[in-house]
């Protein structure tokens, strides 16, 4: 276990704690935002009726969130992770904005 082995005598360096905290915040908040955008996009683009697409997107969102949380802790370099999530987030948010129906009925 990567972190489990550090205990007792050896103090955990601050940089390690800061990185864990950063990944936690990025994963919980950023991951949720990405999931929400992805689910919104799915709800608009899935080739089903409006209601069916909405419900499918909600059901899939929990799998997406779980996948993102695992990714956030699996990617080795924090910088790669942050850049990747930012690009994905911008792309998703832009897509959600672009697919906005002209008039929401």
């Amino acid at each position: 276990m990567a972190a489990g082995s550090r205990r007792g005598s050896k103090p955990v360096p601050f940089s390690y704690r800061a990185e864990v905290a950063a990944r936690l915040i990025v994963g919980l908040a950023g991951g949720y935002a990405l999931t929400a955008w992805a689910a919104m996009l799915l709800a608009r683009l899935l080739p089903m009726s409006r209601l069916e697409a909405t419900e499918t997107a909600i059901l899939l969102s929990f799998l997406i969130y779980a996948g993102l949380l695992m990714t956030v802790f699996a990617v080795r370099r924090l910088s790669v992770l942050l850049i990747g999530l930012t690009v994905a987030g911008l792309a998703l948010a832009a897509s959600v904005w672009l697919t906005h129906p002209v008039a929401v009925s």
Binding site: T54, A57, L59
Partner: protein, 515 residues
């Protein structure tokens, strides 16, 4: 993170499991009790008996509501059945207000049984945690998500699932705890994946409302009304017409569901446009889709409005919801649900204990005990033994509080809360060597005393239940006894570990009883 993919997933498994583990134990314990909600409802109201004729009971209940609420607009009676001795009812008054009551199926009138929340308390606690709306539900959602994540990361951490299934090396300290955690996890892996995911599904629009916003904006009315539901009510005409006798109507509906009925709704009783709506009994199928038969309330003729079909996504949702609720399960399957829940509780418990066992060798080398270790070790005891003890305290209060006192139902839930708080505080104060022995001994006493208290305070003790062939009451007392015996066994094991002098063992000690 540093290290391989598997290592970082193992890290995520450890920490997501630790952070949420205690809360999950409480959610699991109350959730697995909720598979027997109807039976808890029955046990906590020993004054009531299941009706011999549920249809006649509904007729009486409807008559009581109509007689006591002139001009009632619509009324609903949830039928009692062989397991459930109470009829839950609610109605809309002539003035547009709402009323509700629990009725005794024997008389059709509000019952005089002791005031208790019964099984509803554990059911509500399971997803609301006694925290005001909506925060309890959000917290339960976080717990479900963390568990889903912990199951997934636990899964990918494994090198050899199949082999783990057959691996148990007892008496080897940390290794044994890990084996036990693995066996429990793998044995009912489909259950753990299903229950955590479907738990999210039960309140999914609360946890992920954004797709609705994406497609409907602020117009929630359009969203809700787009669910395909057959029309059931007709507008009142203002012309008076007597309500048809309910007996034949309900019997006709019951003929289609193994002689059982679910919820009965009568709209506009006494009006020419009266409608009788009989829902299928909960549990006739896995999915939670509403299914009913509709009758004219004046002629009693069956109406057959076309039922719109539900698409694949809605059908999936209905089925996932039904899987979580487990109401479709007949006794054998219901016990398997219960045992899977117990397995889940034990899996979380062994995972939490493993966290401490893993960090113990360093302590045994004489390093100072960090605060985090002490806290986790003692919170483990508080949650693993404290939650069941708190549930037992609820049942103690149910039997021991006098029937007429003001706020009796709240006093029962207070007993649960104070027992849990007391166990948590006590677990911080008890000498370390007595932690597990004391907690498990207390658990054994709390549960083993319950059948005795039941026998002493009611006429429906274990012996008379067995003599009468009352399987429901007898199984309840026997289950309490089994839980008590399990605690007693754990207490004995912990005691044996504690009295063997330090140094007689290599490595760490299971149950953490030895100082």
């Amino acid at each position: 993170m540093k290290g391989s993919f598997r290592q970082s997933m193992a890290w995520l498994h450890t920490w997501s499991g630790l952070v949420i583990g205690w809360l999950l134990l409480a959610i699991f314990a109350t959730g697995l009790a909720s598979y027997f909600k109807a039976d808890i409802d029955a046990w906590t109201r020993p004054e009531l008996r299941s009706p011999a004729d549920p249809i006649a009971a509904v007729e009486k209940g409807v008559a009581w509501i109509v007689a006591n609420n002139p001009g009632v607009r619509d009324l609903t009676v949830v039928a009692a059945d062989a397991r459930n001795p109470i009829m839950e009812t609610y109605w809309q008054t002539a003035e547009g207000g709402y009323g509700s009551a629990y009725l005794d199926p024997a008389t059709g009138a509000p019952f005089t049984a002791r005031d208790t929340l019964g099984g509803e308390f554990f059911y509500r606690f399971h997803f609301e945690l006694m925290i005001p709306y909506p925060w309890g539900r959000y917290l339960a959602g976080c717990a479900a998500m963390a568990m889903f994540l912990a199951v997934l990361t636990g899964l990918v951490t494994h090198k050899r699932i199949f082999k783990d299934f057959f691996t148990f090396r007892p008496g080897k300290g940390q290794r044994s705890w890990l084996d036990m955690h693995n066996v429990l996890g793998v044995l009912s892996l489909p259950f753990h994946l299903m229950i955590s995911f479907t738990g999210l599904v039960t309140l999914m629009t609360m946890y992920m409302p954004y797709p609705i916003e994406a497609n409907y904006g602020d117009d929630l009315e359009t969203y809700y009304s787009s669910f395909p539901v057959a029309p059931r009510d007709a507008d009142a005409t203002g012309t008076a017409a007597p309500l048809t006798p309910l007996g034949p109507v309900l019997a006709d509906a019951a003929a289609h569901w193994d002689g059982r009925i679910g919820t009965v709704t009568v709209s506009n009783p006494g009006d020419a446009a009266a409608r009788i709506h009989v829902a299928r009994p909960i549990g006739a199928k896995i999915d939670y889709r509403a299914e009913w038969r509709l009758y004219d309330g004046v002629t009693g003729a069956r109406l057959d409005p076309p039922v719109p079909s539900r698409g694949p996504a809605l059908a999936t949702e209905d089925t996932l919801y039904g899987l979580h609720m487990g109401q479709f399960s007949q006794p054998l399957l219901r016990w398997l649900y219960f045992l899977s829940g117990v397995g889940g509780f034990a899996m979380i418990a062994t995972g939490l204990i493993l966290w401490t066992v893993k960090r113990r060798p360093a302590l045994e080398k004489g390093e100072p005990m960090p605060f985090s270790y002490r806290l986790v070790e003692r919170l483990n005891v508080a949650a693993i033994a404290g939650v069941p003890i708190a549930m037992a305290a609820f049942f103690w209060a149910n039997r021991l509080l006098p029937s007429g006192v003001e706020g009796r139902a709240e006093a029962e839930t207070d007993a649960f809360l104070y027992a849990l708080l007391g166990a948590t505080v006590l677990a911080q104060l008890v000498p370390r060597a007595w932690l597990w022995r004391g907690a498990c001994g207390l658990g054994a006493a709390a549960f083993l005393a319950l059948p005795v208290i039941n026998m002493a305070t009611t006429s429906r003790g274990l012996l008379s239940s067995l003599a009468e062939g009352d399987i429901q009451m007898a199984s309840f007392d026997l289950t309490l006894t089994a839980v008590g015996l399990a605690f007693a066994t754990a207490a004995l094991l912990a005691h044996r570990k504690a009295v063997i002098p330090a140094g007689a063992h290599r490595g760490s000690r299971p149950l953490g009883a030895a100082a």
